[in-house]
């Protein structure tokens, strides 16, 4: 078990800056989720920690060691790849044992550790099969077992759930959480899926254009976003934003600011701003109500208004966020 720390890490690919001075720490035993849109540098960040990419500037520490110049194998971390990267010509057992065999562990140790890891992720029943005979979820488990078997200092997970179908993804998400609780190792999990980030992480780091925008617990990041990007990226449907003029219909806001309110904080009823219901999308127990003033509200499906109805829309001032119009930074209500 070890903490992972990035200190001022920069990485460029030609003209493109993938990581632009990243300072980030995954605490000992923590499951840190790095989330961001495609191309924000989150996979590069993971590959730099793994040693698969060399950093241009800055330092990476695992535990107390500076590993910036160490080769990947000397960093004692395990990585789970998006495509699982299972060796197709080897059986599940051989795949799991791979790292131990390369490190020339004794047969006894290999046997014991493989049994232990396959038990932990539930792949005992198909140890003699080959990867192409397994479903996506099963392959994912094998990839996890392969990462576990070496008892590394930390785990790096690169979008491990993104190739799974929706049902399996939710199930594996829960299992990943359970697994983390059982082994208690430091894990850095990269994803573009904000729901995954919010449900899985002890803490979340939101990355955009190679910079860390905010780090905090899911509650902090969702409830008190540092800037407009974080506010807009997390949450589905996305937060509503209003300029000063549009916001005036609800509250007076300071000059040079933008008002943001989450759809679930918008109340539809008889009070508030009179508006027409443009469109209603039902998503299971929730309904997303699009109002004709560009406002989206999230209400329980059984309380949804009809399309075309005239309703009142309102929200509490305390639930709304203020952001600087120019910099996007969070501003507090006066």
């Amino acid at each position: 078990m070890s903490r992972i720390a990035l200190e001022g890490v920069r990485k460029r690919f030609g003209e493109t800056t993938a990581l632009d001075g990243v300072d980030l720490e995954a605490r000992d035993g923590e499951l840190l989720v790095v989330v961001g849109p495609s191309g924000c540098g989150k996979s590069t960040l993971l590959r730099c920690v793994a040693g698969l990419e060399a950093v241009d500037e800055g330092a990476i520490r695992i535990g107390d060691r500076d590993v910036t110049q160490l080769r990947p194998a000397a960093r004692n971390i395990s990585m789970v790849f998006q495509s699982y990267a299972l060796f197709p010509h080897l059986t599940v057992r051989e795949n799991i044992a791979f790292g131990l065999v390369v490190r020339e562990e004794s047969k006894q140790v290999v046997r014991e550790r493989v049994a232990e890891a396959s038990e932990l992720v539930g792949v005992v029943d198909f140890l003699e099969r080959r990867p192409y005979q397994l479903s996506g979820g099963e392959r994912q488990r094998v990839a996890l077992a392969r990462a576990l078997v070496r008892r590394p200092d930390a785990f790096l997970l690169d979008e491990p759930l993104s190739n799974l179908d929706a049902g399996t993804r939710v199930q594996m998400r829960t299992e990943l959480r359970r697994l983390h609780r059982e082994i208690g190792s430091t894990m850095v999990h990269v994803t573009h899926d904000q729901v995954e980030a919010l449900t899985l992480g002890d803490r979340i780091a939101v990355l955009d254009a190679g910079r860390v925008r905010q780090v905090g617990t899911p509650d902090e990041v969702y409830g008190r976003p540092n800037d407009r990007f974080v506010a807009g990226f997390l949450g589905s449907p996305a937060m509503n934003f209003f300029g000063r003029e549009a916001a005036r219909r609800f509250y007076e806001i300071p000059k040079g600011t933008v008002l943001g309110v989450r759809p679930e904080h918008v109340r539809i009823g008889t009070h508030g701003l009179r508006t027409r219901v443009d469109l209603v999308e039902v998503a299971g127990s929730d309904a997303y109500v699009h109002l004709d003033r560009g406002l989206v509200a999230r209400v329980p499906a059984h309380l949804r208004p009809d399309e075309g109805a005239n309703v009142g829309a309102a929200f509490d001032r305390g639930a709304a966020h203020l952001f600087d119009e120019a910099t996007g930074e969070r501003r507090e209500w006066q």
């Binding site: 495509s83 990267a85 060796f87 192409y132």
Partner: protein, 278 residues
């Protein structure tokens, strides 16, 4: 896919038979011609089964020149050339995969350029070089090109095959501390087996049928390979067609045999979708 199968389903078998007949017929006439009595002229009309059947042409061919010795010589040359060519070409192809960015482009372009040079253009410089090294009239000039993978085409073939494998497989191995040689041996080679067999087969055919280089480099008849033996037959008894065809059968049989063995591996390598985890 399925619609395509249905569309072609009815045609596939007759088409396959037509192709097989087109390729088998000359082989058949070669064998049947070799079984005619020695010294007979070619039949006026194609003869499927000669009458009477005789193996005397084979005896005559083996008596006239030492075909047995030449066959053994060819087998030795091939046995040294083919494994060496596969080894070097696959290692070179794998190295091209591992080197970074620009160096890789240079290597690929260089290999392509080398591919464009006709073998005959190299004949004189090579001869001069081997003479300077004192290796004329040995098998070394026949085997030495295998130290360069025999042909840049084989190197590129391996490179392309390795490149088709997901890069993450090799990265996963790197994280486990596997050496580049280990990756080549335990990941790369097992995953490109059909290509290895194809290259081995092509190298076998090229080496076995090589006429020009033995002709240029070998003077001692005890070192002759089979293609030179065939030429000796032709020189000694130009009009004895059954005997010439008997020699041709001896020269062709190993190639057909090698292909029959190799094609099993081609057909058995299909493991369906998701084989590479994609």
């Amino acid at each position: 896919m399925r619609a395509g199968e249905r569309k072609w389903g009815g045609w596939r078998q007759p088409a396959a038979i037509a192709v097989a007949v087109a390729f088998l017929l000359p082989l058949w006439f070669m064998v049947s011609g070799s079984l005619r009595e020695p010294g007979l002229p070619p039949p006026r009309a194609p003869e499927l089964i000669p009458s009477p059947i005789s193996t005397a042409s084979y005896h005559e061919a083996f008596d006239l020149v030492d075909l047995a010795l030449y066959t053994v010589n060819s087998l030795i040359v091939v046995a040294l050339t083919v494994p060496l060519a596969v080894l070097v070409a696959s290692l070179a192809g794998f190295a091209m995969l591992l080197v970074a960015g620009r160096a890789r482009v240079v290597l690929v372009v260089f290999s392509f350029a080398a591919l464009m040079i006709p073998v005959t253009a190299l004949l004189v410089p090579r001869f001069t070089m081997f003479r300077w090294l004192g290796l004329i009239d040995t098998w070394v000039p026949l085997i030495a090109p295998a130290l360069l993978g025999l042909s840049p085409f084989y190197v590129l073939l391996f490179y392309w095959s390795f490149r088709r494998l997901p890069l993450e497989l090799f990265e996963a191995a790197r994280l486990e501390g596997m050496s580049p040689f280990g990756m080549w041996r335990r990941l790369g080679m097992p995953l490109v087996r059909p290509v290895t067999i194809a290259v081995a087969l092509l190298a076998f055919i090229a080496s076995w049928g090589n006429f020009l280089e033995p002709l240029v480099y070998l003077f001692d008849p005890d070192l002759y390979t089979l293609p030179l033996g065939l030429r000796s037959l032709e020189t000694l008894d130009r009009t004895n067609y059954p005997m010439l065809l008997a020699g041709a059968v001896v020269a062709t049989a190993p190639v057909v045999f090698a292909f029959m063995i190799a094609q099993r591996y081609f057909l058995h390598e299909d493991r369906g979708a998701g084989w590479l985890g994609r």
